[in-house]
């Protein structure tokens, strides 16, 4: 069964200072009035134009195997494979901030308003990530039958050895067209400020891995590092 969620804007908005840091600014650097004004405009536009919605659906391990194997292009070894095979529950999800926000970002850039365009882009990227975190929380709250110590984390095609072509089968199963996300021939989503993936529920230990896979050398996000730290803390608290 597919569930639809609408995200509360307050839960996905990033901190203004975080936006500037994400744009490379040092935390102690004095922000000029022009930069401050532009950031205010970008946040205002985001609040007016973003339409954050998502869908999710439980999926069995057997069904997820088909989704994960996708077009057969995954890396030989992938932590996602090892993790889902030891899971207690799996949910596919897709979320988007909508088309309007992407249109505004592009229009601002085309009209040479680079600063506001880039700030809005950064706000939207951060908000999409935060919405994915919210999705994890929603699924955590609604999964009554899971063991109480389960730990929930999301994984997306295009990362950790799960090839981006995995989007195709994910879309076939979940139908994110219902929230107006489409996939192009390169397996990329439109609107671009969208996130899909699988949310894996299981004991904290299953999510732990050593980021020493061949593809890890090329990964610049290293977003697994804080996630793995969180898992370690969770295990330590038990």
């Amino acid at each position: 069964m597919i569930h639809k969620v609408t995200f509360d804007m307050d839960t996905i908005l990033p901190e203004p200072s975080g936006v500037l840091v994400a744009m490379g600014m040092k935390t102690h650097h004095k922000v000029s009035p022009r930069v401050e004004d532009s950031l205010g405009v970008a946040f205002q536009i985001f609040s007016e134009k973003a339409e954050p919605v998502g869908i999710y659906s439980p999926i069995s391990r057997h069904e997820f195997k088909t989704v994960f194997e996708g077009e057969g292009l995954n890396s030989d070894e992938s932590p996602v494979r090892d993790i889902y095979l030891r899971s207690n529950a799996l949910h596919l999800y897709a979320l988007t901030l909508g088309k309007a926000i992407v249109t505004v970002i592009n229009d601002l850039n085309d009209n040479d308003d680079y600063a506001v365009s880039h700030m809005l882009n950064t706000i939207a990227s951060s908000a999409a990530d935060k919405a994915a975190g919210e999705m994890e929380k929603i699924i955590f709250k609604t999964s009554d039958d899971r063991p109480h110590h389960d730990y929930i984390l999301g994984y997306s095609p295009g990362y950790c050895g799960w090839d981006i072509s995995g989007q195709k089968k994910l879309f076939e199963y979940l139908d994110p067209g219902a929230i107006e996300i489409t996939l192009n021939s390169s397996f990329l989503m439109d609107p671009v400020k969208s996130v899909t993936g699988v949310i894996i529920s299981g004991s904290p230990e299953i999510h732990s891995f050593i980021p020493g896979y061949p593809f890890c050398k090329l990964c610049k996000t290293k977003s697994c590092i804080p996630r793995l730290k969180g898992i370690k803390e969770q295990v330590g608290n038990r």
Binding site: L20, M23, G24, M25, K26, H29, V31, S32, R34, V35, S38, L39, N109, D112, D113, Y114, A115, S117, H118, M119, N121, T122, G158, D163, I164, N184, S186, F187, L188, M189, V192, F215, L218, C219, K220, T221
Partner: protein, 211 residues
């Protein structure tokens, strides 16, 4: 302070409206447009580049300055098209096929425009054939390839290989960039240059084209 210095200062502080007005004032005073372009607008952007490299300012300030630069160019460009004054040539940029991330690519485009290049932005998810075709048709001097995903990096190699098969004399230089790319990777795939960020992309292209 003369009007050229005022334009440069206003550009650096991101005052687009003033740059637009002062460029018109400079033209009205009889200053030729090449002087305004080189000694006020490009000079201002060069200062911005220096301040960015020394961490005096950061990206938001650079982008505000780039907008001010364009406000000045709005006045100069129609006049440049009418006269014999030309910029530094054409640069074709885009995110390679399979990649929809364009923040870095957009920044490179902004900085290249600021440095006086005509930028043809092909957008995202651009095929090797399109890169080569447009660059050849437009007589571009350089192609900038961007990728953010590790999975799309091989497409950079394919794009360069296709370009080399079409541009047999090697007239068009290729620079690559994007989060997962490295100078070593650029060398491996026979790119002419690698850029860490948008400001260094301009520096690398300037030195590449002066070779």
């Amino acid at each position: 302070m003369d009007v050229l210095n005022i334009i440069s200062e206003d550009l650096q502080s991101g005052n687009a409206e003033s740059v637009n007005q002062k460029v018109q004032q400079a033209l009205d005073e009889g200053i030729d447009l090449k002087t305004i372009l080189d000694d006020a607008l490009i000079a201002g952007m060069n200062e911005i580049g220096k301040k960015f490299r020394s961490h005096e300012i950061f990206l938001p300030d650079v982008l505000l300055a780039a907008r001010a630069m364009q406000a000045g160019m709005d006045i100069l460009k129609p006049l440049m098209e009418e006269s014999s004054v030309s910029g530094k040539g054409k640069a074709v940029i885009g995110a390679v096929k399979g990649d929809l991330h364009d923040i870095g690519k957009n920044l490179v485009g902004i900085m290249l425009k600021g440095a006086g290049y005509e930028v043809i932005d092909l957008g995202k998810d651009v095929s090797p054939e399109k890169f080569a075709q447009v660059a050849m048709d437009e007589n571009a001097r350089v192609i900038g390839l961007s990728a953010l995903l590790t999975t799309t990096m091989p497409m950079m190699k394919e794009t360069i290989e296709h370009l080399r098969s079409v541009d047999k004399e090697g007239k068009i230089k290729v620079i690559i960039g994007g989060a997962p790319t490295t100078p070593e990777f650029a060398k491996d795939i026979r790119a002419d240059a690698y850029a860490y960020d948008a400001v260094s992309a301009v520096d690398r292209i300037e030195s590449l084209l002066s070779e």
